[in-house]
Amino acid sequence: MIDFSRNHFELFGLPARFRVDPGALERAYRDLQSDVHPDRHAAGSDAEKRLALQASARVNEAYRALQDPVARAEYLLHLRGVDVRTETDNALPVAFLTEQLERREDAEEAADAQDEPRLAALVEAVRADAARLQTEVEAALDAGDLERGRRRVRELRFLTKLVEDLDDMRVAVLDR
């Protein structure tokens, strides 16, 4: 079986840092799947098929975690002993929360008014914020500032969810 003790970065032969070369990640993923995917072992024994299933699922999981910026940041923190999900201190700054709450209210108003352009503008604004935050996450994590990284990741996760929700509202208006 593949070495399940190897972390996601080691699995793909990539350095454990936030900045990831998407092309290199994709190539490593395809190379690994080309070897372990159950289709490569369809004529094998039950034991081999079982192994292929587990190895392939593991490779998929690692790829998913490294592809997505929030998941990748959380995973990096986890590797360095900070578990973002089980933190008890998970309050977000009041100013940040207030701003997002206002945006959500704006979006609801725009949705009621069937105002797609306004919703699209809101989505873009949040997306731009998220992109900025992502560079901050990158700077903090790759400089080893875990505490700052942890705080920024939490905000980034919040914004990523907000982008999705607002875009759902926008599409709902378009489809009506």
Binding site: M1, I2, D3, G13, A24, R27, A28, R30, D31, L32, Q33, S34, D35, V36, H37, P38, D39, R40, H41, A42, A43, G44, S45, D46, A47, E48, L51, A52, L53, Q54, A55, S56, A57, R58, N60, E61, Y63, R64, V171, D175
Partner: protein, 618 residues
């Protein structure tokens, strides 16, 4: 066993006989079987040269009729002639909606629908198995022997219950299922390999009773499904039904009897098909309650089916959005399924994507051809082209939590195989059991999702509320089928699980059906089973020997001795007549080589990684 195949593409570790591998498109209206011959995928026709098998099963006085023979009598004997059985797979009576659309006698009860026929009560699984059996026999006659393995296609949007039902039907028909393959993905294989395409493609698959849309990326031999969506209750049948209703309205007739309805439905379908290429199609038919005289024009047809066409576009938008793409990112749209011949469908697709759809492959055959190509590869008949398929699950999988809400464990469009675990805890002091309800679907409320199974986890040691840590693991294999397991973590006690499929068949039911089907051909089946066991024994011996030849250095003396012993044991029983003993010996060899397989897998991974590093450095 092939163990870990490290040989170069096109270079077989051992010369061995070609496998008889087939691809089956089990369609709502028509089914097909195909195989790869001399490197080219071909559909296998019947003795009269007809490629299709109408997916119609009739329980006649003298036995079971399948295909054209059954279809010819559908109007006269509607209650015993089952058409479009695919719509019933993995479905309960409540799912069918207006069951007056069906001329069958449904049997009341829980779980999957059952139909009372002349031959007794039959499930959709058994009825589908009759179609698969007919296809298997056609393939055996054409290929000159028993089939080693089959790839059976399913709509990409089929849920777990529908997939499991399809796999059960194949097993019942005596087929070894190499893989369940999504229909649009199969089409993409046939199309992509044919055209050596690269880029992002959409596959628009409107069949007789199901609709799928898949967005795929083709890059350097990898078919990667980015997103899929669809509707498992929307297809060409529905367009027939609209024409049927329209004709009935024109003639101002009362609700029809079974035979009348079947007759008018057939005429409605004929008229629909005639419109592809004609400007008008007459519907003139004498029914017992009066006559229908109407003329269907493209304008009327387009008008009465407008909502159906619109209905196909919602999943298209959803899939594109999940793939984070816009219509202009799509390089080509492949049309699959006979229903995509309708001009209004082609117009709608062309308008949405801003380009005419690709129709250069026969939309009725392309799925079976792709399945045959995949089957050929999975069976081990390597033929040059090296490619890999990465598919996804169509619908999120979750568990019911407090308040009747669904907690998603695996989101839709996750690449399979996939495994994910989540921890839950007890909410009462001393709680020793927990019931888990597995659901599939996108909605928040469990009531709006499909119930897949209910599990009971027993034997949790009594603890205070919230102290137990129950880890529930969801695992979806490459067929898109789900397995769930649960384990209490703090004590390490593995508790037992009982599975009660909500809309599936239990193992006992499958066993009973198998027994019944074997009762008719017991001797036949035994001879067949023995032959199959011998083929399997030969295969594993050859593969083990090849693996040892390649990687003997991974084994220490004890391991090597154990494998040699198991090998000798299999060879000794190979030509005997005791299938049980042979199977046992094969299993023992399997077990003896499990550790070896793991080491070879590791080595293969290491090679892949080091190869990549060189690549990255260079």
């Amino acid at each position: 066993m092939t163990l870990f195949q490290i040989s170069e593409p096109g270079e077989s570790p051992l010369p061995h006989a070609r496998k008889r591998a087939i691809g089956i498109d089990l369609g709502t209206t028509n089914s097909l079987v195909a195989t790869v011959r001399h490197g080219i995928a071909v559909v296998l026709p019947d003795s009269e040269g007809r490629p299709l098998v109408p997916s119609v099963v009739r329980y006649a006085d003298g036995g079971v009729e399948v295909g054209y023979a059954a279809q010819a009598k559908a109007t006269r004997d509607p209650a015993n002639t089952i058409v479009s059985v695919k719509r019933l797979m993995g479905r309960g009576l409540d799912d069918l909606g207006d069951d007056r659309r069906y001329p069958y006698r449904f049997v009341e009860g829980q779980g999957m629908v059952r139909i009372a026929t002349r031959a007794g009560v039959r499930t959709p699984v058994e009825i589908s198995a009759e179609i698969l059996k007919a296809l298997r026999e056609r393939a055996e006659a054409s290929l000159g022997g028993a089939i080693d393995g089959a790839v059976v296609t399913v709509p990409a949007y089929f849920d777990d219950a529908q997939r499991q039902a399809t796999k059960d039907a194949a097993a019942l028909a005596g087929l070894t299922v190499l893989r369940l393959l999504n229909e649009p993905t199969a089409a993409a294989i046939a199309y992509g390999l044919d055209n050596a395409s690269e880029g992002t493609y959409a596959v628009f698959d409107l069949g007789g009773g199901t609709f799928d849309i898949s967005i795929l990326r083709l890059t350097r031999g990898v078919f990667e499904v980015l997103a899929t969506s669809g509707d498992t209750a929307l297809g060409g049948d529905d367009f027939d039904h609209r024409v049927f209703c329209w004709a009935l309205e024109q003639a101002k007739l009362p609700p029809l009897s079974g035979p009348d309805a079947r007759l008018l439905m057939t005429r409605a379908r004929d008229a629909k098909e005639m419109l592809t290429g004609h400007d008008a199609a007459p519907i003139d038919v004498e029914l017992s309650v009066g006559s229908v005289e109407a003329t269907l024009t493209p304008a009327v047809f387009s008008d009465i089916t407008k909502t159906l066409v619109t209905k196909t576009m919602a999943p298209v938008k959803r899939a594109l959005r999940d793939a984070r793409l816009s219509p202009s990112d799509v390089k080509g749209v492949v049309m699959v399924g006979g229903a995509t011949r309708m001009p209004q469908i082609r117009r709608a697709v062309a308008e949405f994507f801003g380009q005419p759809p690709l129709t250069n492959l026969n939309p009725e055959e392309v799925v079976a051809l792709g399945a045959a190509i995949q089957a050929n590869k999975l069976a081990g008949n390597r033929e040059g082209d090296d490619w890999l398929l990465l598919d996804v699950i169509p619908l999120s999988l979750g568990l019911e939590t407090m308040g009747g809400l669904s907690e998603k464990i695996i989101p839709r469009n996750s690449t399979i195989p996939v495994a994910r675990a989540q921890e839950f805890t007890t909410f009462k002091d001393g709680q020793t059991a927990m019931s888990l309800h597995v659901v599939q679907g996108e909605r928040e409320k469990v009531a709006d999702c499909r119930s897949l199974a209910r599990f009971e986890l027993r034997g949790i040691p009594p603890m205070t509320a919230g102290a137990a840590r129950i880890r529930v693991t969801f695992e979806v294999d490459a067929d898109g089928l789900l397995a769930v397991s649960a384990r209490e973590q703090t004590t390490g006690v593995a508790a037992s699980i009982a599975v009660k499929p909500s809309y599936g068949l239990t193992d006992a039911e499958i066993a009973r059906m198998l027994q019944e089907s074997f009762a008719h051909a017991a001797d036949d089946a035994q001879a067949r089973a023995l032959a199959e066991a011998r083929v399997e024994a030969d295969r594993i011996v050859a593969a083990t020997e090849a693996a040892i030849a390649a990687d003997a250095d991974l084994l220490d003396d004890t391991e090597r001795a154990a494998i040699d012993r198991a090998l000798a044991d299999v060879s000794a029983r190979r030509d005997g007549y005791d299938r049980g003993e042979l199977t046992k010996a094969v299993q023992a060899l399997n077990d003896a080589t499990a550790g070896f397989a793991a080491k070879r897998m590791d080595r293969g991974m290491a090679r892949a990684l080091s190869g990549r590093r060189v690549d990255a450095l260079g």
